[in-house]
Subunit: 533 residues, 2 copies
């Protein structure tokens, strides 16, 4: 463990991210909303006014849990329960704003270590109490809303006390981290040893190591540092049947790679209590810059050429025309974007290596019609990159609706997929008389394909949840019809469960269920997430 | 399908590889054997003289199978059964030379397509006949020797007719290949389209696409092209319960990566009937060269630096002192190697890129004490790289014993692992009064670790199998004790089954069994391979 002692952020139950970073609505966006006649709806229910059911976990079970973790680490305080209710998706936030506390856990239990986790699972399995492993709490796909039918209550298993850097192997460049370590703390601990994880998802401030692994997170520097699942070399999983330790080598031919079952398991198979990851030395140089492309197609070709023939920048993104114009990613200048399609490239590493890579990549970008915009737009993106989502709260307050969704496919299928999803979402919202803006970017590239990340904006309405539900269903269907994957990095949760089942087919679902039943025979772990019960 | 029609090689049941490439024993090696007093044992049983049990599959089942695939594609000919008996390990070859046909399949069945595979599995599951999926037949870990207890016979399901290139997506750079396509044919078909797989395992001439995937093959150019499991983006698996299609995108967060269950499943979960892989454009330039290092430690440091900080050559290998001296890899000059530790670097790609990468890698190699030996040793390695194993047959004829084994671990553990395995094998053989030579190389590197590949040579004895069995058990135990993986690219088969069970633990074994039972409830697929029944 480290001696660093970072302040713990108390995230609000009804807002995105760190309250200290909350932002107002820029005038430019307010003007747009005014033009469109979008006005605030009634005021939201404040968390203090939200009404919770009495905790359902039977008293003897609660006492057993208190014996395991100490009574100070079992809580049924309202604010604690609310903070562990659902995640950070727009529907999650809207439900909380509507005072809907139906998914609240009955208890929040905070084990101190692996042994206590195993013991909590034993107690809950015996008592038929459902357990939701909770580390960052940033799911945007309903991954924290279990199906409680048939259970004697729901425990949020908060892993915040399993926090820290266990060890670093500087020769092998691996580090073992505890699951409750949030992104900034993991970086701080690693950087004190001269290393970086290089993992910066948009939920960075809240998300944690265990969640990165459980949900196959991808960060904004994935071109350079890879996805989180590609960084993982070892895992420890506490299950109701005991502990599973996986990962004896970087790669192996010793049977199926069981690590790949735990990655993406979203708390349904066990509780990840330790993650060993590949780390990299801290870069000495960082350069970010902007490029303008005449069209999304030209920009996508440039990204594909870099992904296939190299060299790869550390960060590589491309916004389409709508996203470039609106520039929602930067609260400071939202609504006042530029023309064409904006690409961001970032390079991190040692000085000479960065220079060479940047020169070679720039030649490819220019060859594809890119015009260099210099470092200003790059730095603006870098410094503002975690701020974009904070715009959602003032937008919701102002009567707008904003949500995102994402997918991934092979390069040749990318244009068709982009068009199909955009059309499906817009048509579904228009059927409710809601004109919408759908903007899109590529932010993760592979040799054979890339992700597409969509942001959808329209007027909020009293039944926003239902209307968005139909748009989301249309998007899911379009993604499936195009043969793409239902998620590149958000995961399955409950929101993507049905499309996921179609994606892997009935035999695939049987496999996931068989694996779950093997490790969690009582089915207490995050029931209803990933696959139906 | 392609119109190319490559000649089909008839591999011998008791020899390595293509009979046309058979080699004699170089004088230098014969002299060494003479010095050591190693003399030929009695002559081996010729395949024509081997005695087979009558085929056990009941006549009605055989008739059903003939109805599925056509009677011309069901064979119980002796030579056919012998060619499908076991694989290419030294124990496998010695058993065949001893006339031990106990693992021979009863029938060889050759389906034409996916539908016929599914139907054969249905017939065999109903009749309790075991099925061994057979494509290249090059297993060196007992992957083709099922446990037939309780079954009404064993069918070798030869996938030779599922051969060819189904499609290429030049934009996404993916290709779909059929499982029976052997290495050289896959390359020929892809190269006709301007692409290469870049996968060259030592068994290249015999191994096939389905086997590459089923056993997580790694090729000699893994530094540049990656392991085979890293190339796979899609798979179709025919199982007794129907077909499982996996792979909607390069990477996804849609749950556990089920492709990673099929990869490494070694024919125990189903029959891989189609593999979609990432391909690369054919390189225009190829340069191979040799480097001399004063010690294995210095050379390993150089390899680690290239793997961690780049740039990576396409081929990167390092032999230890013993292997460098003996130079068994090249029959033309075997026994007459050089001093120090020989490293081979190879670069493939476009001309300017290769030049830049070679210059930067050479600087690292020099900085670690490497002395450039020029292109001659590199070209010698490249042209002779598939010939080394052909030395085994004349060595066995001359009374010597040679076998290989391999493992993988993290960099910081590499020296300890190399020492532990070497000592364990030598001590075990010495307990049988067999002094041995143990040589080692690194041939696959990762950021966090590398593989170790050992070649063991000693005198053959009448009970060579038992003696090697105890040495192999000692090696397995040493690998496990060192916390390394029991296989980097050979797989588990039956030979590594017990150590694999220790590596993944009882819960891990339960998981593998649960997955198998889900797809293959009757347990007919390669029974006894990977995990005990």
């Amino acid at each position: 463990m480290s001696e660093l002692d970072l302040p713990v952020v108390d995230f609000a139950p009804d807002r995105w991210g760190n309250p200290a970073s909350a932002t107002g609505l820029p005038d430019s966006l307010q003007a747009t909303l005014d033009t469109l006649g979008i006005r605030p709806l009634g005021p939201p229910v404040a968390p203090d006014d939200a009404v919770l059911d009495a905790p359902a976990v039977p008293a003897p079970v609660r006492e057993s849990l208190a014996r395991v973790v100490g009574s100070g680490h079992v809580s049924d305080e309202a604010i604690d329960r609310l903070r562990h209710t659902r995640g950070w998706s727009t529907p999650d936030i809207l439900k909380m704003r509507a005072g809907d506390t139906s998914d609240a856990p009955d208890l929040v239990v905070r084990p101190a270590d692996q042994d206590e986790v195993v013991e909590v699972l034993r107690v809950c399995a015996e008592a038929a109490v459902a357990v939701v492993p909770y580390s960052g709490g940033t799911s945007v796909v309903g991954g924290l809303a279990p199906d409680r039918t048939g259970f004697d209550g729901v425990v949020a298993l908060d892993l915040g006390r399993l926090d820290g850097l266990v060890s670093v192997d500087p020769v092998s460049r691996t580090a073992t981290l505890l699951p409750g370590t949030r992104g900034p703390r993991a970086e701080e601990l690693l950087q004190a040893e001269g290393f970086t994880l290089g993992h910066f998802p948009q939920s960075y401030e809240g998300a944690s190591i265990g969640g990165y692994a459980a949900a196959r997170s991808a960060g904004q520097s994935s071109a350079g540092y890879g996805r989180f699942d590609e960084m993982v070399v070892g895992l420890v999983l506490a299950t109701p049947r005991g502990t599973l330790e996986l990962g004896t080598a970087p790669r192996s031919a010793a049977g199926p790679d069981l690590r790949q079952l735990v990655l993406g398991s979203e708390g349904t198979l066990g509780v990840i209590t330790s993650v060993t990851v590949r780390v990299r030395p801290m870069p000495t140089v960082r350069v970010y810059e902007g490029w303008q492309f005449p069209s999304f197609e030209a920009g996508a070709t440039a990204l594909r050429r870099l992904a296939q023939d190299g060299p790869l920048p550390t960060v590589l993104r491309l916004s389409d025309e709508v996203e470039t114009t609106l520039n929602l990613a930067d609260p400071a200048s939202a609504g006042a974007g530029s023309a064409g399609c904006l690409a961001i490239t970032g390079y991190e590493g040692a000085s000479a290596e960065v220079d060479a890579r940047r020169a070679a990549a720039s030649a490819v970008l220019e060859d594809c019609g890119g015009i260099a915009l210099g470092e200003e737009p790059g730095e603006k993106w870098r410094s503002g990159r975690f701020h974009g989502p904070y715009l959602r709260d003032p937008l919701l307050d102002a009567g707008a609706f904003v949500e995102t969704l994402e997918t991934v496919t092979f390069w040749s299928n990318l244009p068709r997929l982009k068009e199909a999803v955009t059309e499906a979402v817009q048509a579904a919202l228009l059927a409710h008389d809601l004109p919408s803006l759908v903007m899109c970017h590529i932010s993760h590239v592979y040799e054979t394909g890339a992700s597409l990340y969509f942001t959808v904006a329209c007027a909020q309405s009293e039944d926003a949840l239902a209307r968005w539900g139909s748009a989301k269903a249309a998007a899911n269907a379009a993604i499936r019809a195009a043969g793409a994957s239902i998620s590149h990095h958000h995961g399955v949760g409950r929101d993507h469960r049905e499309t996921y089942a179609e994606e892997i087919g009935p035999l695939g679902v049987d496999l996931v269920r068989a694996v779950k039943t093997t490790l969690d025979p009582a089915g207490i772990l995050n029931p209803g997430v990933l696959v139906t019960r």
